[in-house]
């Protein structure tokens, strides 16, 4: 089987444009609170979601919009939810970390790791009430250190639940490089529960589509859960207004000045760690900022751009599709702003 790349591209582009619209509205102060975008995760979401059918369930984390959009939830009702209107997806009660669509059996949570248990419960219901359907958990690599996520891997494997764990590894949990807090590697961790685990480039939608297709088919056939481990990068940082990103975006000199000022302040204070340890701390922070800058650089992989490039040979079709999606999102944006 081959994926319909145009269809996937369309979903990815919709998601990207939607998130960019959200960003603008958030920046304009029309959306409140934290805002974690799914920019950079489009290929993972599209490659997985495109295999889902009626009755399948979705357990989402704090970056739930792309999967929901691709699953077919009305974009306007999501946007109106984010804007806090009574006719939003959740009546303005949930907000962006708590998007729920009963019709799609899709639930989000802002608690890191909670998509594990949620997916397990959905999978139990699938087993019991809707044989042949599956449940999918989306989460970050940081969430893989949350106890309930590991418990859920064990439970899913022990009960051979129809479940797909989708771990999106952008290397960061907020300002922490996840590698430094994660012992061993997540592929081995998943396999240690007796689950198949596949590592892939989350910017390559075809690879995701293939792996997810196989894993979901296995789950439907009663072969139990699988673990997809997909690398991605997230140019917008952890959330909009990301502190680390703000720092890193300043011209090098300014930013270093700031770090130096902290450092000097800290060095000037009597008592505290030996100078070497203080210098190590300063280097750690400088290295973080360098890493952030790297992930923001022009050469950072972008799943949408990548697919765009490979499909661009058909220029006309691409232009039409782009026009269509841009039109849709513009239309949604316009309707979204109409007062309740």
């Amino acid at each position: 089987m081959k994926p319909d790349l145009w269809q996937l591209y369309k979903q990815m582009l919709r998601s990207r444009l939607f998130e960019e619209a959200v960003k603008r509205l958030w920046e304009a102060g029309k959306i409140s609170g934290e805002m974690h975008l799914g920019i950079g995760e489009e290929a993972i979401a599209a490659g997985v979601i495109s295999h889902l059918v009626e009755g399948d369930a979705l357990a989402l984390d704090h970056r739930g919009t792309p999967p929901l959009l691709m699953r077919g939830v009305d974009p306007l009702s999501i946007l109106r939810e984010l804007l806090g209107y009574p006719d939003g997806l959740c009546g303005g009660m949930g907000g962006h970390m708590h998007l729920f669509s009963p019709a799609h059996l899709a639930a989000s949570s802002g608690i890191v790791g909670a998509s594990g248990p949620a997916a397990v419960g959905f999978a139990i219901a699938a087993q019991q009430l809707r044989p042949g359907t599956v449940s999918v958990a989306f989460f970050g690599e940081g969430a893989a250190n949350q106890g309930m996520m590991m418990e859920s891997m064990n439970l899913a494997a022990a009960w051979k639940l129809p479940l797909l764990f989708v771990c999106k590894d952008n290397q960061w949990s907020i300002t922490t490089v996840s590698e430094e807090t994660t012992a061993g590697d997540l592929i081995s961790r998943a396999r240690s529960f007796g689950m198949p685990a596949i590592e892939l480039d989350g910017n390559d939608v075809e690879a995701v589509w293939n792996a997810a297709g196989q894993a979901i088919a296995d789950a439907r056939n009663g072969l139990g859960p699988s673990f997809l481990y997909a690398q991605c990068s997230r140019p917008e940082g952890h959330l909009l207004g990301d502190m680390l990103l703000r720092l890193a975006e300043r011209p090098l000199s300014l930013e270093m000045g700031r770090v130096l000022r902290w450092q000097v302040n800290s060095f000037l204070r009597r008592k505290g760690a030996p100078i070497r340890a203080r210098a190590t701390s300063a280097r750690t922070i400088a290295a973080l900022m360098a890493k952030v800058r790297g992930s923001r650089s022009a050469v950072a992989p972008d799943p949408v751009a990548r697919l765009h490039q490979s499909l661009s040979t058909e220029g006309q079709r691409m232009a039409e599709l782009t026009g269509e999606v841009v039109g849709e999102i513009e239309q949604i944006l316009e309707s979204a702003l109409i007062p309740a």
Binding site: H98, F100, P117, A118, I124, A125, L129
Partner: protein
């Protein structure tokens, strides 16, 4: 008239619910043995033993309930809910609000609770007032077999999360498992009217949020729940011999709270004594004071609760848990003072 033990009554009601509704399923640790009769009748798909992973399987119960099942998830003792608290605090209790009322989580969290058999402070808590603090959770604590079955049925049928707590002094199998262990050499203060009693032939749900008046008296109103109700009734008998007549209210559900009955009965005597095995501070006993004051009812007020971490030694534990003597003393203080 059918007579069942407290434990049998619950099992009977669960049997009825599971037979009538195939979406009712049970999971928890050791369920194949603890609920062996249900396991034998309804099979391993609907009666599932879990790993010791409460955070995950209580969380799973929430989403399973959202996806069409009506899970009864068991965490053995309510004390163990600590490891699974996120599932209740941030998920079960909030699904309905977050979804704008469009999605419900009809699950029952079942657990044993309570002390009086010398098992120490990590295994004898009640925590009902604590759980009730979280908007969105119902908390049910029956004191008789008839209520136990009826409230269990109501909990299963309720379209939201319900915590169902069975006190170990009433549920004989728990007391045997954790306290007696088949010994004849130990005694427990088991209230007979709670441990066994008449039940209906077919279960009807006992409505959540409806207190029961267990005794009428003009001098003071004792408000309690669970085993405390029986302790209060014993104390009321003793008080009556001293000429002090107490009403006894059995709340039956902590949340929702039957404010009407509480206020009416409190106004009638003007003296309220709360007997609450849960921790005293920031819990049920305080809420009752607030509810009565909010209604503008002037009362004298005392409470007999558990003030500290429960000690292990039985003689120490006996002093800390609400007992008949403490209740009598507080009641006399109220009626004299």
């Amino acid at each position: 008239m059918k007579i069942l033990s407290f434990a049998q009554a619950i099992e009977d009601a669960v049997n009825q619910a599971m037979a009538d509704d195939p979406t009712v399923i049970i999971f928890g640790e050791d369920i194949h043995m603890i609920r062996r009769n249900l396991f034998l009748r309804f099979g391993g798909d609907r009666v599932r033993s879990t790993p010791i992973s409460e955070a995950s399987f209580v969380g799973a119960a929430v989403s399973a309930s959202m996806a069409g099942l009506r899970p009864i998830v068991e965490v053995m003792l309510v004390d163990f809910i600590g490891v699974a608290m996120d599932a209740l605090l941030n998920h079960a209790a909030k699904v309905e609000t977050f979804s704008g009322g469009k999605w419900k989580a009809p699950l029952v969290v079942r657990a044993a609770c309570g002390g009086g058999y010398g098992d120490g402070g990590q295994h004898q808590q009640t925590l009902w007032g604590w759980l009730a603090h979280i908007p969105g959770l119902s908390v049910v604590v029956p004191s008789t077999p008839a209520d136990a079955g009826g409230l269990m049925l109501a909990a299963i049928e309720h379209d939201g999360p319900v915590i169902f707590l069975e006190h170990k002094m009433l549920a004989d199998y728990w007391l045997d498992f954790m306290g007696a262990g088949n010994r004849k050499t130990v005694q427990f203060d088991v209230p007979p009217a709670g441990a066994s009693g008449p039940v209906p032939a077919t279960w009807q749900p006992t409505p959540l949020g409806k207190a029961a008046i267990r005794r009428q008296g003009d001098d003071l109103t004792i408000i309690s729940i669970g085993v405390g109700v029986h302790r209060a009734l014993e104390a009321a008998d003793a008080l009556a011999q001293q000429g002090v007549y107490a009403s006894v209210i059995d709340l039956r559900t902590v949340a929702p709270l039957d404010k009407a009955t509480i206020c009416e009965m409190s106004a009638a005597t003007g003296s309220v004594l709360v007997v609450d095995e849960d921790y005293e501070q920031f819990g049920l006993s305080g809420e009752l004071a607030a509810v009565i004051l909010e209604a503008g009812i002037p009362i004298k007020y005392r409470r007999v609760c558990t003030q500290e971490t429960i000690p292990y030694a039985r003689h120490l534990e006996d002093q800390i848990l609400p007992n008949k003597q403490r209740i009598i003393d507080a009641a006399l203080e109220l009626s004299i003072g």
